[in-house]
Symmetry: C2
Subunit: 202 residues, 2 copies
């Protein structure tokens, strides 16, 4: 048992080293040699963890989406959608340095997936999962009678999802312009704009 | 004169061949040899058109943004913002096959620009120009008294711009899900959602 645990731990370390190489030099430089150097391992020992270069890249890509998924699973939801939806979206958006690195690496994989079938398969699975998240958001708002009446739900699902991916791209490319604060204000504004006005309190 | 024209024409042809190589094999495969093969030229003759590989890539990247810019310049605007804004945005979004190829190539350059200073400079110039387009859109709507009162303009500029880039990414990655029709409906809905309700006619 401990050996298996160590083995998996080591694979994660190697995948993290892959991320750093991608961030510093680009995905086309994430060779077995460069990753081994970054991880402080010999090129020879790399084959204990990954049989092929392609397996290493698939694993490193999947580790990004797994982390996002785990964070979402661990959110302590309040039950109030107008509080919970921003919390959920916050785990997808690059709202801190760690998530920014993940997103930057993810974009590199996404672009490579356009000419790599193995990576494309995983990219589409993740896209399907995220699309389902936004379908659930819109359905939840509608069921709770919070959404504006007469919304074109198909358009609203895409509009919310595209906004989030657009913010994520911008935050990676221009972090000084698209700050965490701007992203959060945009999400909140968007959410309010598709919901009925709150009843006046008091 | 004719010689200069031919020379520029040939450079464009080589840049277009570069786009096709990027689309088929990825940017890391856009070597001088592969581009020469795709363009039907000898590797030796490539140096008549581009001195270095880096110059070729910069030119091919700039040709994408130049085409978008030219299309926008050539729009016959009506003067009615609610008609003209969708027309303008349509020239940025991948609403046909040609624009989809451009956008796919652009993403590849954008990701490469994260680890390439020359490409990063151009990417940021284009980002500044596009951001200015959305600043002008929001200012235009406000001046024409079409925008809702009390909008947080800084957030609305980013929200519109991020929506457009998000739609563009999605349309390249999932063209069967994010169709031209969905993109146009999302843009129209977004525009209406930041504007005052139209006065009832009649």
């Amino acid at each position: 048992m401990p050996k298996i645990v160590d083995h998996e731990k080591q694979r994660k370390k190697v995948a993290e080293a892959t991320w750093r190489v991608i961030q510093k030099m680009g995905l086309d430089q994430a060779s077995v040699r460069n990753v081994a150097d970054e991880a402080g391992l010999s090129v020879g020992s790399m084959r204990h963890y990954f049989t092929t270069h392609s397996e290493l890249l698939s694993y490193a890509m999947k580790m990004v989406s797994d982390r996002v998924g785990n964070r979402i699973t661990n959110i302590a939801f309040s039950g109030d959608l107008l509080t919970d939806i921003p919390l959920l979206v916050d785990e997808i958006l690059p709202t801190d340095e760690e998530k920014r690195l993940e997103m930057e690496v993810w974009f590199a994989f996404v672009v490579k997936s356009l000419s790599d079938k193995d990576l494309a398969k995983h990219r589409m699975e993740v896209d399907d999962e995220l699309r389902t998240v936004f379908i659930k958001i819109m359905n939840g708002l509608t069921t709770a009678n919070l959404a504006l009446p007469d919304l074109d739900i198909e358009v609203e699902i895409e509009r919310f999802y595209a906004l989030i991916d657009g913010l994520a791209v911008h935050a990676v490319l221009r972090p000084e312009k698209v700050t965490t604060d701007i992203m959060r204000r945009a999400v909140r504004k968007h959410l309010l704009s598709i919901c009925r006005p709150a009843p006046a309190s008091g």
